[in-house]
C-alpha cells in the first residue's frame, strides 16, 4: 500500500531533476559556429626601402551576414599569434564583419623578425593587409583600394592599431587595448616628469617583454619561454589561461620554421628580434639606464612619435591593473587623438597586464559597439556594451550567490584626464625620515610582480605589497572624515635630502584599522632625483588609480628605495625624505555615475506571483470538493447510525473495489461485515472513516454525510487494518495524546474503562514498540473505544488474540451494543460473526450479497446432514462457491 505515495514522490523528484537537466542542456547547448574561416599566407613587402618580403600567416573570417561588410583587423598581443584572437574573430565575423587575423612578423608561423611595431616593418605589413582586404569581394570599400576597416588589439596589437592609423589614412576606427603611448616611457618611467632618459628601468617587465619573443630555447623546450610570454598575451587577450598555451604553441611553431633544431648563438641571444632592437635592449638592460638612441628607437614604435596623425575614432580600453602600460598611457593617447578632433572614448576596466577580471565579454561588447557605430554606422550611442566618453569599472562588492566580485561600470559624459574633474586635498603628516638603499638593492620592496597577478588569477583587489624596514619613509593622513573617491593621479611634493642620485618609489596606500594596508592596483611611481643637503623638492605624480578611500581609513604615502620590479642602484646610500608640502592633491570625477542597482524586479514580483499561485492551487482544490451537493444533514436518517447508499470506489486500475453498496445499520445492532479477502470490507471501512474519497454514492453517519474530517466522525470509534501508535511512547501516553488530539474534554474519554478493556496491566507504561501483536491489538481497540463512541467500527478485532481474549472481546462488544450503541465488526471468520453479531452484511467482490439478521440468514439455508444450518454453508452458497 506504500506504493502510490512513494511513486508520486518519486515522480516529483524525477520531474524536477528532468527540469533542471533541461535547463542545463538549454544553457550549455552550443550555438552553431556559422563562421567558416580560411587560413592563408599573405606576402607583403616592408623594410625601410620596401624590399623585404615577409609571409604573414593569416586567417580570414568572411562576414556571416554575407555581402560586402566592413573589415576588422584583429591584432594579437606580444608572444601570441593569430590563434590568440580566434574566438574574438569568430564573434566579430558572426556580427557581420569581415575579419582578418594574422601573426605579426616574428610570431607564430609568419616569417620575418620582430621590429616592435616599427613604421618600417610592422606598420607596412598591416598596410599590405589592408591592400589585400581592398581586393576581397567580401569587404566594403570607401573608394577603390580603400576598404572600410577598423583595427582592434591588445598590448602589442593595440600599438599596431594606433601606429597603422597614424600611417595609413584608410583606417576608419580603432580600438587599442592595454597599450602604450610611449614605449620608452613605459620601460623607463619617471614620476618626476623628466622623461625616459632620467627614468627608472622597469627591469622585470622589460625582461619578460623581450625574452617572451626571444624563443632562445631549443624546440620542444620552448614552453618555459612561451609560458612566460603568455603572461603578456594572456593579460592582453582575456580570458587568460588559453592565451599562455597558445603563445607557447606559437613560439614552438615559429621555432620549428625559423631555424634548425639546434639554435645558434644569435638565436639564443636575440630570438626573433631584429638585431638592431636586440642590441638596444641588451645595452639598456645591462646598464639600467636609457640612452637617447634607445629612447629614439622605442619612440619610433610609439604613438608619441606621430603627434596629430591619428585622426580616427578611437576607443581606448586600458587596464587598471597594469604596471607595464599604466592608465597614463591611455590618457596620453586620448589627449593626443582628441586634439585632432577625432571622437575618443576611454575606459578603465578591471584587468591589464597584472591580471584582474579581464572583463572579456564587456570589452568585446564595447569593441563591437564602437565598430558598429563608426564602421557600420548603425549602433546607437547607447547600444550594445554601452557607450560613454569615460567609463570606469568599479568594485560592486561580492555577488551573494557566487561570492565572486561584482563589477559595476561608472560612466561620465566627459573624459577629465588624470588630473580629474575636480581636486581635493588631504593633508599628510610625518617627520623627515632617513631611508637606506641596501647594498646590491636587495631585499627589495614588493609592489606589482609582473605575471604574478595573472598567475594567481587574482581579482586585482588583493595586493601583496611589502615594504622593507629601514628602506621606506611613511607619511600618513588623519582618518578620513568622509569617503574619498580618487580617479586619476594624485600628486605630492616631497624633499629628498642627501647626496647623489637617488632612485625612489612612491606609493599611496589605503590603510584601514584592522586590515592589511592596500596598495591600489599594486602600482608604484618610480622617480630618479638628485638629492641635495638642502633638500631637493620634487613633485611626484603618483600612479593613476580609481579607488574609494572609505571614511575612517587613512591615506599613507610611502617612499621607498627599492622595488622588486625595477633596477635600483647597487651602491649603498642613505637619504632623508620629508614632505615639502603636506598637501596630497587628489583628482576626482564626480560626474562618473554608477547605474543604480536596486533589487531586481523579480525580487518583489516572484513572491507575489507565488502567493497568487498558491492561492489558486488551494482554492481550486477546495472548489472541486465543494461541488458535491447534499451535504446537509438528512433529518430522516438522523437517528440511524449508518446509512450507506450506492457506494462505489475504483482502484486505480479501474477495477471496482466497492460497487453499488447499500445497507443500513440501526441502533443497538452488532453488525458483522462478512466477506472473503478482497471483498471490499476494508475499503468500505476506510471510506467510512473519511480516509478515502468515494467515487460514487455516499455514507451517512447519524444523518451526516461522511467526508474527510467531517465532525460527525467524532462519534465514530474505529480500528481498521491494524493498530497505529507512536512506537516511542508508552501505551498510556499514546492513548492520552490521542485523546488530547481529538481536542475533547478529558473527562469524556472514559480512559479507565478503555484501559480495562485493553487489559495491559503494567505493560501500559512501556513503550509501544516493545508490545506483542496482541497487546497492540487490544490497545488499538481500547483507543477506538475512547470516549465511548456511538458507532464503533472494528476490522478483524480478534486477530492475534488468544481464545480467552476472543471470548472476552465478544462479551465486550455485545455489552457495548446493549447500551444503545452500535458496533460494526468486519471479519472473514464465519464463526466469529455467528457468535458475536446480531446482523450480518455479506460482501463479495465489492458487492453486497446479503444483509439481515444472522437468524434470518441461517433460516434461509436448509439443514444439512441433520445438523443446524451453519453460517459457513450459507456464506459459501451466497458467494457462489460449491461446498
Amino acid at each position: 500500500m506504500a506504493f502510490p505515495g512513494g511513486r508520486r514522490a518519486l515522480a516529483i523528484v524525477v520531474s524536477l531533476v528532468i527540469l533542471m537537466a533541461a535547463g542545463v542542456t538549454w544553457a550549455l547547448w552550443p550555438s552553431d559556429p556559422v563562421v567558416k574561416d580560411r587560413d592563408l599566407v599573405i606576402p607583403v613587402m616592408d623594410g625601410p626601402s620596401d624590399d623585404q618580403r615577409v609571409d604573414l600567416d593569416a586567417t580570414f573570417y568572411p562576414p556571416a551576414s554575407g555581402g560586402r561588410a566592413p573589415a576588422v583587423l584583429l591584432a594579437h598581443g606580444f608572444g601570441g599569434s593569430k590563434e590568440s584572437v580566434r574566438e574574438q574573430a569568430g564573434r566579430l565575423a558572426g556580427q557581420g564583419y569581415a575579419v582578418l587575423t594574422w601573426s605579426a612578423r616574428g610570431f607564430g608561423r609568419s616569417t620575418g623578425q620582430i621590429a616592435l611595431n616599427s613604421p618600417d616593418y610592422e606598420v607596412k605589413d598591416v598596410r599590405g593587409l589592408i591592400d589585400w582586404l581592398a581586393r576581397r569581394p567580401e569587404v566594403r570599400l570607401d573608394a577603390p583600394g580603400d576598404p572600410r576597416v577598423g583595427i582592434a588589439g591588445g598590448s602589442y596589437g593595440g600599438a599596431i592599431a594606433l601606429m597603422t592609423a597614424a600611417y595609413d589614412s584608410r583606417v576608419d576606427a580603432i580600438v587599442p587595448q592595454i597599450t602604450w603611448y610611449d614605449l620608452a616611457d613605459a620601460l623607463f618611467p619617471d614620476a618626476s616628469g623628466k622623461g625616459p632618459v632620467n627614468g627608472v628601468f622597469k627591469k622585470m617587465w622589460a625582461g619578460i617583454f623581450f625574452t617572451s619573443a626571444a624563443d632562445r630555447l631549443a624546440p620542444g623546450g620552448g614552453s618555459g619561454a612561451g609560458g612566460l610570454a603568455g603572461l603578456a598575451g594572456a593579460a592582453a587577450q582575456p580570458p587568460g589561461g588559453s592565451g599562455g598555451r597558445e603563445a607557447g604553441q606559437g613560439a614552438r611553431q615559429g621555432a620549428g620554421q625559423a631555424g634548425p633544431a639546434t639554435p645558434g648563438p644569435d638565436q639564443v641571444r636575440c630570438g626573433r628580434f631584429l638585431p638592431q632592437i636586440c642590441e638596444m635592449y641588451q645595452k639598456v638592460a645591462e646598464t639600467g639606464r636609457a640612452t637617447q638612441d634607445a629612447v629614439d628607437l622605442l619612440r619610433r614604435s610609439s604613438p608619441v612619435s606621430v603627434p596629430g596623425r591619428i585622426k580616427v575614432p578611437t576607443l581606448l580600453l586600458q587596464g587598471q591593473h597594469d604596471s607595464l602600460f599604466p592608465l597614463s598611457h591611455a590618457d596620453a593617447n586620448a589627449r593626443a587623438i582628441a586634439a585632432t578632433g577625432a571622437p575618443v572614448e576611454v575606459a578603465w576596466f578591471n584587468g591589464g597586464h597584472d591580471g584582474g577580471d579581464g572583463e572579456a565579454d564587456w570589452l568585446s561588447g564595447r569593441t563591437t559597439g564602437w565598430f558598429d557605430r563608426y564602421l557600420k554606422g548603425t549602433g546607437s550611442p547607447t547600444g550594445d556594451g554601452g557607450s560613454a566618453a569615460f567609463t570606469v569599472t568599479r568594485d560592486g562588492g561580492r555577488d551573494p550567490g557566487t561570492r565572486r566580485p561584482v563589477l559595476l561600470h561608472a560612466t561620465g559624459d566627459r573624459y577629465p584626464g588624470l588630473t580629474g574633474g575636480e581636486r581635493t586635498t588631504v593633508a599628510l603628516d610625518g617627520p623627515q625620515q632617513p631611508i637606506a638603499n641596501p647594498a646590491g638593492g636587495s631585499p627589495a620592496s614588493i609592489s606589482a610582480v609582473p605575471g604574478l597577478g595573472g598567475l594567481l588569477g587574482g581579482t586585482g583587489g588583493g595586493s601583496i605589497a611589502l615594504d622593507m624596514p629601514g628602506q621606506a619613509a611613511v607619511f600618513e593622513s588623519a582618518p578620513l572624515a568622509k569617503p574619498t573617491q580618487v580617479t586619476g593621479s594624485p600628486t605630492i611634493t616631497i624633499r629628498v635630502y642627501g647626496t647623489g642620485e637617488a632612485t625612489l618609489f612612491a606609493k599611496l596606500y589605503d590603510v584601514s584599522g584592522g586590515a592589511l594596508p592596500v596598495l591600489p592596483s599594486s602600482l608604484v611611481a618610480p622617480l630618479r632625483v638628485t638629492a641635495s643637503e638642502a633638500g631637493t623638492p620634487v613633485t611626484v605624480t603618483l600612479p593613476a588609480i580609481d579607488r574609494r578611500f572609505d571614511a575612517g581609513h587613512r591615506m599613507r604615502l610611502v617612499v621607498s628605495t627599492t622595488d622588486l620590479g625595477y633596477a635600483t642602484p647597487a651602491a649603498p646610500a642613505v637619504y632623508r625624505v620629508a614632505l615639502d608640502t603636506p598637501a596630497l592633491e587628489l583628482p576626482g570625477d564626480a560626474a562618473l555615475r554608477t547605474p543604480a542597482t536596486g533589487p531586481a524586479w523579480w525580487t518583489w514580483a516572484l513572491p507575489l506571483v507565488a502567493i497568487v499561485a498558491a492561492a489558486v492551487l488551494l482554492l481550486t482544490g477546495r472548489a472541486r470538493r465543494g461541488t458535491h451537493a447534499g451535504d446537509a444533514p438528512d433529518a430522516e436518517s438522523a437517528g440511524v447510525p449508518l446509512v450507506i447508499s450506492g457506494l462505489g470506489k475504483r482502484y486505480r486500475n479501474g477495477e471496482k473495489a466497492v460497487d453499488d453498496l447499500s445497507f443500513r445499520v440501526e441502533k443497538g445492532q452488532v453488525l458483522g461485515l462478512l466477506g472473503p479477502n478482497g471483498a471490499g470490507k476494508t475499503t468500505t471501512m476506510r471510506m467510512l472513516m473519511g480516509l478515502i474519497h468515494p467515487d460514487e454514492g455516499e455514507i451517512r453517519i447519524f444523518g451526516h454525510r461522511v467526508r474527510p474530517g467531517a465532525p460527525v466522525l467524532s462519534r465514530l470509534g474505529s480500528f481498521v487494518e491494524g493498530p497505529g501508535f507512536l512506537p516511542h511512547l508508552s501505551g498510556r501516553a499514546n492513548l492520552e495524546l490521542y485523546w488530547q488530539a481529538t481536542g475533547r474534554p478529558p473527562q469524556d474519554a472514559h480512559m479507565e474503562e478503555a484501559l480495562e478493556i485493553a487489559g495491559l496491566g503494567v505493560a501500559l507504561e512501556r513503550a509501544v514498540r516493545t508490545y506483542s501483536q496482541g497487546m497492540r491489538q487490544r490497545l488499538a481497540i481500547a483507543q477506538a473505544m475512547l470516549g465511548l463512541p456511538d458507532l464503533l467500527v472494528l476490522d478483524e478485532p480478534t486477530n492475534g488474540l488468544d481464545p480467552p481474549q476472543i471470548a472476552e472481546m465478544r462479551r465486550v462488544l455485545r455489552a457495548y451494543a446493549e447500551r444503545g450503541r452500535t458496533v460494526i465488526v468486519s471479519s472473514h471468520l464465519l464463526a466469529e460473526v455467528e457468535q458475536t453479531c446480531s446482523h450480518v452484511v455479506v460482501m463479495h467482490r465489492g458487492r453486497l450479497v446479503s444483509a439481515g439478521p444472522v437468524g434470518d440468514l441461517l433460516g434461509t439455508a436448509a439443514a444439512v446432514n441433520g445438523g443446524g444450518p451453519r453460517l459457513e454453508d450459507v456464506f459459501l452458497d451466497l458467494i457462489g462457491e460449491s461446498r
Binding site: 505515495g5 512513494g6 476506510r686 480516509l691 495524546l737
Partner: protein
Amino acid sequence: MSPNRPATDLTGDVPADGRAAPVAQDGPDTRGGDAGGRAPGYAPGRTLPLRVEFVRQLRRRRTMGMFGVLLALPWVLVVAFQFGPAGQGQSSLRLSDLATAGGLNFAAFALSVSANFLLVVAVALFCGDTVASEANWSSLRYLLAAPVPRDRLLRQKLVVALTYSAAAVTVLPLMALLAGTLAFGWNDITVPGTGEVIPAADVLPKFAVVIGYALVSQLVVASVAFLLSVGTDSPLGAVGGAVGLVIVSTILQAVEALGSLREFLPTFWNTAWLDALAPEPDYSGMVKGVAVSVTYSVILVALAFRRFRRRDVVS
C-alpha cells in the same frame, strides 16, 4: 433534508484554520438527535493542539539525537581547534582560520560549515518526517478519523516542524557563540577576507539577522521535505528526497554556464548572510535569497496542502 437551514453551519467542511469552528461550535444545537452531528465537546478548531504535537515529536529519538548533535558540534569544533597545531604564525584571513579569533567569529564559522549540509539535514528531517512517519506508523489514519481535519492536521504539523527546524537552526549558532566565547573570549569580530574588525556590540544585531536569514533560506528545504512527506509513507524517502534536491541544486549552482539562471536555484543564495557581517553590509543578496526562498516554499506548501486534501489515505 432541511433546505431552510444554513448549509454552512452544517457542512462537515470546516476550514482547517478553525475560524469557522466557533460558529458551528457555539451555535445553539437546533438539529435533532445527538449533539448536532458531533460528539459532545468536539470542535475541529481544538483538535491536535500544538502542545500535543510538540510532545508527540519531542520524545522521538531522532529529535533528541539531532538536537544532541547540534548542541555538541560547537564543542567538538572547539576541541578540534584546541588540538590543532598552535601558532602557525601566518595570519590568514579565511573564515576557518579566523574561527578562533573570538566567540562571534567562531559562531560565524560554525554556521558556515553547518549551513550547507548539517542544518539542511536537520530541517529536512523535521519537516520530511512529520507526516510520513505518522503514515508509516499507521497513526495518521486514526488522527484523521478522530477527526482532525486534514488542513488543520497539516497546518499544526507544519507549524511544529518549522518550529523544531527553527530551533535547530538557532540553537547551533547560539551554542557556538557560547562555546566560542568560553573558549576564545568575547572579542570583536574579524571580517574574513579584509581582516577588518567590527565591534562586537555592533555586530550582535547583525548576528540576529544572520540567524534569521539562515532560517528563511532553509524554508525551501523545509517545504520540499514537507511536500514529499505528504506524498509518501516512507519518512527516509521524504528526508532523502529533500536533501537530494539540495545536493542537485548545489551541483547545478557550480555550473557557470547557467549564468543568471542559477540565481533561481533554491540554494544559490544560501551563503548570502556573509554579506551581513561585512563592514558595509549589503543586504541585496539576502533580499533576493528571501524572495527566492519564499517563492518556492509558498508554492510547495500550497501543493502539499492540495495534495493532502485530495489524497486517499491508504497507509
